[in-house]
Amino acid sequence: MRSDRSSAGWPLKIAAAGGLLFLHLPILLIFVYAFTTEEKSFQWPPPGFTTQWFAVAWNRPDVWEALTLSVRVASIATLVALVLGTLAAAAVARSAFFGREAISLLVILPIALPGIVTGIALRSAFSLAEIPYSMWTIILGHGTFCIVVVYNNAVARFRRTSGSLIEASMDLGADGFQTFRYVVLPNIATALLAGGMLAFALSFDEVIVTTFTGGQQATLPIWMLEELIRPRQRPVTNVVAMLVVIVTFLPILAAYYLTRDTDRISGSGK
């Protein structure tokens, strides 16, 4: 724990800081362009600054439509992922059964294979089964690759949660359901919440799978893609992007603080 508390060398500090800077400057750029007075092209440096685009974005019904759809898709996909991911994690964490490895591979596969494969596979299945495209087909796609984040979080928590807690509960007279309600659920709740938030964010930003599994309806990223290629008011896209960044920041922050203390709170109590 304390062994490495000496300070880092300068080359490491510079490389780490440089890396972080590299990750953030382009995002800053998006923020800057959300305030530019120039509407048609991206002139650098921006000729002037204005906040008018926030009002414009607010009044654009297409933004709201896309946002609503995205929120609905992400919420339902997250719900699906929460249920399926938790079940799979519980099964895998509980016992060493035949095919347990296969399950974890199965769960990882949708995120390990490129989104386009997931997308086109589901699409061809939809067309074979003559399922019409709708919000539900998008959810089917998103649910598939969201399972893994919930699963990973839940499995990690199950692993760190002492198995003897369940036995202790039964020992004290709680049956299986009481044990789930009073011991298992509270202990994995923060992990599920964190996994759920990541799943939500993953779905909220997914372009490729959506392109393949969606019909005519546009989620926010699809709206953005359209808007970036055929812009009507370019800064509006940046305003929306910036707001999305700021809004997603909160769940990420929450997820971090929820899982950070895991070692301390979910250990067996030793």
Binding site: S41, G215, R230
Partner: protein
């Protein structure tokens, strides 16, 4: 399949696959809006899916779920052959009679005397150029995009020209060769035998050295002209008009070799769920006002000559500017087939597709 016998009530919705700029509802410029009023009058809510290439249009129609498509000549016959579109009953479209006679029985929508759609607009693939790069010497020939040369601004054209990212562009090369290598005996840029085809590919391979990025989408091409230093490319009048309107130093010309072009047809999907709205739209699309507005916005020629007069947006010179009189000089997009008219055996379209990907890939 039998065409619709009589017009019923609108179904309340209509979805159209269209080229960018073909269906406007005033979102970019509120003067250009030929949807809102249609919706108010018919109650048909219009949704538009833009497609960037003819191939994409065919794919979308194959997939289904759309009512209409504004198909170019290289897509329309494929749609007919694939039974993706249905014959139309011209009697249900009063404005049919006002059509330009040159288009009424055009082969890209008429098969065995049956009409598979209403002509929309047509036009040439013009040569768009940057007026600063070319100073006072506008290009006269397509050679500025095919051959390496020094442009009037003293810099090479290398990396500053673009070509269209669609296999149909091979026809542009063939058209150029038709003028510059008559010994190849090319009669029709869409009907090429092996030798002619090879020569066209070679020309395109040479062009690959000059082209940084191929253009695929009208809006992205505009971006490339603005931000990537592109100064010359085959283009649509649509881009030229948009950029000029923004005050960019851009103009276009109709080179001496002639041009390829498009003549688009509004076609009705076999499984259309909103045929009545579709017929209403086809009628609406042939009104002089809409024709004039579309022509003005996209830089196309209306299919209804009456639109050439008295349209505020198009102005009375508009038709001539956009090439009304060049009809004969334009080689309209058509799908290349192996059994071709001008010679025994031609290279079919699927080879155009894969070979053009190869050329762009540097092979």
């Amino acid at each position: 399949q039998e065409p619709l016998k009589e017009l019923g009530k609108g179904e309340g919705a209509l979805s159209i696959v269209a080229w960018a700029g073909y269906i406007e509802r005033g979102e970019t410029d509120k003067n250009y809006d030929w949807v809102t009023k249609f919706e108010q009058e018919t109650g048909c809510k219009v949704t538009v899916k833009t497609a960037a290439t003819s191939d994409e249009m065919v794919a979308l129609m194959n997939e289904g779920g759309f009512d209409l498509v504004t198909a170019s000549g290289d897509a329309s016959l494929r749609l007919v052959a694939g039974k993706r579109v249905q014959p139309i009953n011209t009697d249900l479209i009063p404005s049919w009679k006002t059509l330009d006679e040159r288009l009424q029985n055009a082969p890209w929508h008429t098969v065995g005397g049956t009409h598979y759609g209403t002509p929309y607009v047509w036009g040439p693939n013009v040569l768009m150029y940057n007026t600063e790069a070319f100073k006072d010497q506008p290009p006269k020939s397509w050679n500025v995009v095919f051959e390496e040369m020094t442009l009037p601004d003293g810099k090479s054209n290398k990396g500053r020209v673009q070509a269209y990212d669609g296999p149909i562009y091979i026809a542009d090369a063939a058209l150029y060769l038709m003028a510059h290598k008559p010994e190849l005996g090319i009669k029709d840029p869409y009907e090429l035998n092996e030798d002619q085809y090879k020569a066209a590919l070679d020309l395109l391979r040479g062009q690959r050295q000059l082209v940084g990025r191929y253009w695929h989408d009208a809006m992205i091409q505009i971006d490339d002209f603005k931000n990537e230093g592109v100064v010359a490319s085959g283009s649509w009048p649509f881009q030229v008009n948009l950029m000029k309107a923004e005050g960019a130093k851009i103009d276009s010309t109709f080179p001496e070799e002639g041009t390829t072009g498009w003549a688009d047809t509004t076609m009705l999907h076999v499984d259309s769920e909103h045929p009545n709205c579709a017929y209403m739209w086809m009628e609406h699309s042939l009104s002089a006002k809409v024709q004039g507005d579309v022509a003005a916005w996209f830089g196309a020629v209306p299919s209804v000559p009456a639109a050439c007069k008295g349209n505020e947006l198009l102005t009375d010179e508009g038709c001539a500017t956009n090439g009304f009189d060049n009809f004969e000089k334009i080689s309209f997009w058509r799908t290349p087939v192996s059994k071709c008219e001008s010679q025994g055996e031609c290279v079919p379209y699927h080879r155009w597709v894969s070979d053009y990907i190869g050329v762009i890939g540097g092979r």
